[in-house]
Symmetry: C2
Subunit: 200 residues, 2 copies
């Protein structure tokens, strides 16, 4: 039996398939969904894709995403410019903002040092961070990279550069997650939770 | 703390969120992924969306998706035009084509009768099916709607219309799925599997 290929459909399926976490079956389901919607829906979606990619770029200051020259967080005079929270990815900023507890500013590295993937310090926005630190305003940087081998290595690499500049370098606390269950905590996390215990 | 909203990003997230099975978190991950790709990727994706929706329409014959006037299956002279497999959705055609076992043609209803959702026979492509049946070439229609209450009701509704026209109406067999486990088969499926047992 011949293979009846609808070219524009196959092309749309393959575009969906290139998204992270979207497999062949899901990509097909999404493509069929688009075909079942009014044409305006597809056009709006297309417009949002192009618009986002065209209008959003890196903030000159923190290297996070923004559609402005300087992002609203860096431009906000009420934020504490003496503390910088250093994160690996732009989306990590949103995680901290959701806590509504951090009043400082951010710096996005756009990755972590990972020799196996060919990512060296030169590939990250570390130069830009150092330029900000040479500004005497900055008193502390909070290293908020993930608690992985690469995240740790990146934190200590930056720490070694920043300390001689007279900047205090801190790291997020390790411990058991709130609402977590001790039974499911691994031994490394529990060890760290014990080490970092606080008096109540 | 203020809410720092990047409008083009929020718009892209909400577009992803409108896709079936995509929640808030996944939509955000996909949107950030787009921002991290070269601009050409977003443009190609946008083009595929608009192209698919613009170029693909319903086949005049079977009502399936095609970018031609008559889809390649209906136009294929080697297919048996005396048997029509009636399915609810265009994607069901692909499921049958993958078996490489069906040499007849298809008809897509674009839904099933569902009074609770306000879908009556008039909302489906039943008129178009009847028009095809009045062509004396058609000897059998295979009702291949899902084995749900609505799928069954739709199958018997069409069956009542088609039989007086001298067309044989058949239904897909019920039974245990190949490779399935009896332990997990529900009692209705097992009952049907018993009723439909064959001599070996």
């Amino acid at each position: 039996m011949a293979n009846y290929n609808i070219v524009p459909l196959t092309e749309l399926v393959s575009q969906f398939e290139r998204l992270p976490g979207i497999g062949k079956k899901t990509a097909q389901r999404l493509a069929y969904h688009i075909l079942e919607q009014p044409p305006e829906r597809a056009e709006k979606f297309a417009e949002a894709l192009v618009n986002a990619r065209k209008k959003i770029h890196f903030c000159k200051e923190c290297q996070g995403f923004t559609d402005l020259d300087i992002c609203p967080i860096c431009a906000d005079g009420s934020r504490d410019r003496s503390v910088i929270c250093v994160v690996a990815e732009p989306k990590d900023i949103m995680a901290f903002e959701r806590t509504k507890e951090f009043g400082g500013t951010y710096h996005v590295l756009h990755g972590v040092i990972s020799p196996l993937d060919g990512i060296t310090p030169d590939n990250l926005r570390i130069k830009e961070l150092m330029a900000r630190l040479s500004n005497s305003e900055v008193k502390e940087i909070i290293m908020a990279t993930n608690p992985t081998v690469e995240g740790e290595a990146t934190a200590s690499y930056i720490s070694r550069l920043a300390k001689p500049m007279g900047v205090k370098v801190t790291r997020l606390a390790y411990g058991i997650p709130v609402g977590g269950d001790l039974e499911y905590a691994d031994e490394y996390t529990l060890t760290r939770a014990l080490e970092g215990r606080n008096e109540i």
